[in-house]
């Protein structure tokens, strides 16, 4: 099956001499929900810029659904929908003008574009605002407008560069739901985000990029399985001063909560058994930090250590 995205040996050196990408290889399967993560300035946006023809590459090959950017640019562009990080629509145009014109640039006839506008603006909760000027929208609405705009030509690959930045949690969750739905309908999605929880919840595969190189490229499951130790916070009805937890490293946070480091091989049962034996009731339990976040920091630091 043709890859949705196939990047080989991609290099980018800006005119200023800044090396943004130093030989990236990346493959994304059709139908995938793929996370591209990396610290600020790692090369994520440059990579996306090159894929979407906004940045000229220095060297390498990029194919979108088999169409080479060098030889079949228009066909490659037709497959792709882009939701950029920064708002890049005309703030003085109405939502309807923005999305219908965008469809027109892809050759979608106006009558069809109007139907699609109703569909996508509707699905993203913006149809009522269709005659409002873009600048009148809230930040979250502007982000959703960019998603609707990117879908107007019904692309097979949707790239979202930090789509939920600055969006409140309720709205973020509804956007996740929407993205999951269109992914289930067959649209391949590549997502960059700073909310690692978002990547963990949505994406099946992941690449981590740092200093212009891919330092990890695997499935989310395989990546998370690398995590040897997790820290849990347990909320208790009362924490006795005499509490003992054999074989675990633990810390008392306050009179009602404690923090326990758990090796993956140890499991959680012994903790509950010991607490029950001491008549301590566990009210709730949660991860101390996002698991992916811990891994991300470890991988980036490890990668930088090797680079030195």
């Amino acid at each position: 099956m043709t890859l949705a995205l196939d990047i080989k040996d991609l290099h980018k050196i800006y005119r200023s001499g800044t090396v943004a990408l130093s030989g990236i290889d990346l493959q994304v399967q059709q139908g995938d929900f793929f996370a591209l993560l990396g610290p600020n300035g790692a090369g994520k946006s440059t990579t996306i810029g090159i894929i979407s023809a906004l940045v000229n590459k220095s060297r390498g090959q990029v194919k979108v659904f088999g169409f080479d950017l060098d030889t079949e640019l228009e066909a490659a562009k037709s497959q792709l929908g882009l939701v950029p990080q920064e708002f890049n629509f005309n703030q003085f145009e109405t939502l309807l003008q923005i999305v219908v014109n965008q469809a027109g640039y892809y050759g979608v006839p106006r009558a069809v574009a109007l139907q699609r506008a109703e569909k996508y603006l509707g699905q993203l909760g913006l149809w009522e605002k269709r005659h409002a000027r873009a600048r009148e929208l809230s930040g979250g609405m502007k982000r959703r407008l960019m998603i609707a705009r990117a879908l107007m030509h019904e692309p097979r690959l949707l790239i979202l560069d930090e789509p939920t930045a600055g969006v409140d949690i309720e709205l973020r969750r509804s956007m996740w739901e929407f993205l999951r739905t269109i992914n289930q309908q067959g649209v391949t999605i590549i997502l960059t985000t700073h909310y690692l929880e978002e990547a963990e919840m949505l994406c099946r595969n992941i690449a981590i990029i740092d200093k212009g190189r891919i330092i990890e490229n695997t499935s989310m499951k395989a990546l998370l399985s690398k995590l040897g130790k997790e820290t849990f916070i347990l909320d208790l009805d009362q924490l006795p001063d005499s509490l003992q937890l054999a074989d675990f490293v633990w810390r008392k946070l306050d009179q009602h909560s404690l923090e326990v480091d758990v090796e993956k091989s140890a499991g959680l049962n012994p903790i509950f058994e010991q607490l029950s034996a001491q008549q301590v009731k566990v009210l709730s339990m949660r991860n101390k930090a996002n698991r992916l976040e811990e891994l991300f920091v470890t991988l980036v630091e490890h990668g930088r250590g090797q680079a030195k």
Binding site: V55, N56, E74, N88, G107
Partner: protein
Amino acid sequence: MTARYLIALQSILIKEITRFMRIWVQTLVPPAITMSLYFVIFGSLIGSRIGEMNGFSYMEFIVPGLIMMSVITNSYANVASSFFSAKFQRNVEELLVAPVPNYIIVLGYVGGGMARGILVGLIVTVLSLFFVTISIYNLAIIILTVVLTSMLFALGGLINAVYAKTFDDISIIPTFVLTPLTYLGGVFYSLTLLPGFWQQLAQLNPIVYMVNAFRFGFLGYTDVNLWLALVVVLSFILVLFSYAMYLINKGIGLRS
């Protein structure tokens, strides 16, 4: 040109025309006011004292030039400010990510500039009817000249916008190049009034040819050879179109 490209071109044109119609107070009203003042001051008040210019009343003589002046200024300004704003707000990326050939982008923006230039030209023409009776000598020449001139200056505006880095940059060429060339381009006087050397020098000014060709369409009178005028305008269009295409293809000011 495939149907897909035509839809893309239509979309850019609709976007561009909608833009200048939305801000009509900034785009359509000022030239109407300025030109009405010209008609009142130069045409009615001062013009009556000047007398005839090559057998025509001064008002009859300057009306075609003033119409052309507003066409030139507005075609240029429309593309310069619209394309620069698209760069500034980054909404030009909407076009750059889409499978739109660069010549469609150029034609779309130039078409938008032409639409504003011609519409303003029509408004000024209608206003001039309050001051003078306009005769038409050759309608085809009028239409051909106004279409070609608006195209030429819309291309100029596009090139200006490609290079512009700040909003100030889009007013430098109009202030220091376009305005002097237009005022010295035979709008207000016949070249025959100039001494020999200055008459020769004036013939290097491309606006002289456009104003005279346009005036010929109304009055049947021109200071320059009509065919030469059309060749000059067409040559400039060819050069500027090629240069605009070169800039957009290279992604100057657009792609890093």
